[in-house]
């Protein structure tokens, strides 16, 4: 009897481990195959770069000339680069739900859901792939900023930290997008919703101007906007000597990511109904 219980317990334990292994493997598989698509056709990467290039080259240069925005010890380009970096990752992630709607309209999602893969692993795999796409975007923006001779702190450890929080941040907004896709289910609606979310988040943040010059009510909005924490963290890591609240920023980003991934996973079953 005792031996039997022991055997059962061991079996349960290995079963549990095996399931966890499969869960992680399935998540990585989904991310990997999403990235393979970029490997086959990288057009969308280049198209996505147009916007950040405009922000840095046109908007950034113009405002640097006027010197109307007080950015303390830093040039406006230094101040703007982390903002544009965060914004471009957010833009990619927030429209990620459209891909999911597309896969739903074809039979791909149905087929994916007919495998033993856990629903949450599908959400996690897709969110992770949005995060990794964010890295590609971030690297391009950083290269552009360096080419424009923006003075940035490029210590390898800082860069690694930048990439990690970009992945987390991309995951959180991609999850939000997948969650919305499960509810709204059409590409047209998702386009509209994406626009409706990104612009207010971008302008009600510290991405293109310092919080201190904003009216009080907007400062409160900025405080609850995840993008602000992201931008603050990136400034702390990329601008030499910039004092950021890195711990709070990281905490805010991690909590947002966990909450949104969970929410998207719980909501995901609604997508095929």
């Amino acid at each position: 009897m005792g031996i039997n219980t022991q055997v059962t317990q061991d079996y349960e334990k290995t079963k549990w481990l095996e399931n966890l292994g499969r869960y992680i493997a399935n998540t990585i598989t989904l991310t990997e195959f999403d990235l393979r698509k970029i490997w086959h056709d990288s057009t969308q990467i280049w198209v996505r770069l147009v916007q950040p290039v405009l922000w840095l080259v046109v908007f950034g240069n113009a405002l640097s000339k006027f010197r109307v925005i007080p950015t303390g010890d830093y040039t406006y380009m230094q101040f703007l680069t982390p903002g544009v970096l965060a914004q471009s990752v957010m833009f990619i992630a927030i429209f990620y739900g459209i891909t999911v709607v597309w896969e739903r309209d074809l039979g791909q999602l149905n087929k994916l859901l007919s495998t033993p893969t856990a629903r949450s692993a599908i959400v996690l795999g897709k969110a992770l792939s949005a995060g990794v796409r964010g890295i590609i975007q971030a690297v391009a923006v950083l290269i552009l900023a360096i080419a424009m001779r923006v003075n940035l702190n490029l210590h390898p450890l800082n860069l690694v930290a930048v990439l990690i929080i970009i992945v987390l941040f991309g995951m959180s907004f991609a999850s939000l997008s997948i969650c919305l896709a499960s509810i709204f289910k059409t590409r047209e609606r998702m386009m509209g919703i994406g626009q409706a979310i990104t612009m207010p988040l971008f302008f009600a943040s510290n991405a293109i101007y310092p919080v201190s010059i904003m009216p009080t009510w907007l400062q409160y909005l900025i405080k609850v906007n995840p993008l602000s924490y992201m931008v603050d963290a990136l400034r702390g890591l990329l601008l030499p000597g910039y004092i950021s609240s890195l711990r709070i920023d990281l905490l805010a980003i991690v909590i947002t990511t966990v909450v949104l991934v969970l929410l998207a996973s719980l909501n995901f079953r609604r997508i095929i109904n």
Binding site: T29, H40, G107, Q108, N110, K111, T186
Partner: protein, 331 residues
């Protein structure tokens, strides 16, 4: 041992505006090719999705190879393969990658994975073009690739939703041969949905006739056709009394005639009956213009049990459109 692969009892799915599946019960034997025949919107796809554990029924029980599907959906998914009606391959990946993706998601062990994929691609005769992007494939090849994705896991049961829809006649023949071969070589149980009578007739061992959410009749194609009760004579005549005279002679019209001019009746030994019938009609003053004799088809079976014909005008496009609309409505 239990020879049943699927056993469904009183399965029901209700959407806000419509009872999509209404208390259907049926069972399928191991190694059988079983088909649901019915028009669009009959509830066939909803049923397949419930069997495949993609959507939850409102009530009823599903047992697949002894597994209670509602309690253990993941176990059902591990032994099943599913090919949805809509295109389910990823055109932005190669054919090989499409199959590799599913081999990994079905947790095919890494040690046998490559060999398994090679065999599957060979079996479906796409190995020569496996390194090409799947978006360059023809319709027939795409369908075969979709089946490859499902087969790489060596499923015990394969669900095919309209397997030959949108395929040209030769690709359709290849598909039918393939499905039969799968059953014969691997004893795979195969469940198909179709609105194509020909497909149901030539491919299926047994057919379930679905209409408006209800499973109306189950049986082998031969049994079902025999149940129509004989040959069908269609008589056209300008005479207004044709139908009445036929009734007086003891014949029953198959359905109320669509126009006043043609009427179909059910007879046995139609070839011998035609001359006699023409004589009796002429004697009672009815001028007959044309007579045609037809051996019963599944369409007639459908007509007998539901009172309507499966709409032949349904094209792939209209099917897709109606599915989309339904999905949007239900969303």
């Amino acid at each position: 041992m239990n020879q049943e692969s699927i056993c469904v009892e009183k399965l029901t799915k209700i959407y806000p505006r419509v009872k999509a599946v209404d208390e259907i019960s049926f069972s399928i034997s191991k190694g059988e090719i079983f088909g649901f025949l019915g028009p669009n919107g009959a509830g066939k796809t909803t049923t397949i999705k419930m069997l495949m554990t993609l959507i939850q029924p409102n009530s009823g029980a599903i047992n697949i190879f002894g597994i209670n599907a509602l309690a253990h959906p993941d176990k059902v998914r591990q032994i099943s393969g599913y090919v949805p009606q809509d295109v389910s391959i990823d055109g932005d990946l190669t054919g090989y990658e499409n199959v590799l993706l599913y081999a990994r998601l079905f947790n095919v062990p890494a040690s046998i994975r490559e060999q398994r994929i090679r065999e599957t691609l060979q079996y479906l005769e796409i190995q020569d073009r496996a390194r090409e992007m799947a978006s360059h494939y023809s319709g027939g090849m795409m369908r075969r690739l979709e089946i490859a994705q499902a087969l790489v896991n060596r499923p015990r049961i394969l669900f095919l939703d309209e397997p030959s829809i949108g395929l040209d006649p030769s690709a359709r023949m290849i598909m039918w041969k393939l499905i039969r071969k799968l059953r014969d070589e691997f004893e795979t149980t195969i469940f198909i949905n179709t609105h194509d009578m020909n497909e149901a007739d030539t491919l299926c061992d047994r057919i379930g006739i679905m209409d408006r959410g209800k499973l109306i009749k189950t049986g082998s194609p031969a049994e079902l056709k025999a149940s129509v009760g004989g040959d069908i004579l269609t008589i056209s005549s300008q005479s207004p009394h044709c139908l009445d005279r036929l009734k007086e002679l003891g014949y029953r019209a198959l359905s109320e005639p669509a126009t006043n001019h043609t009427v179909s009746i059910l007879v046995s030994n139609g070839e011998r009956l035609i001359p006699l019938l023409l004589d009796s009609l002429k004697a009672s003053g009815v001028e007959v213009e044309t007579v045609s004799l037809k051996k019963p088809t599944l369409d007639d079976v459908f007509l007998k049990y539901t009172g309507t014909r499966i709409d032949e005008r349904d094209t792939w496009e209209s099917t897709r459109r109606s599915r989309r609309t339904m999905r949007k409505l239900n969303g």
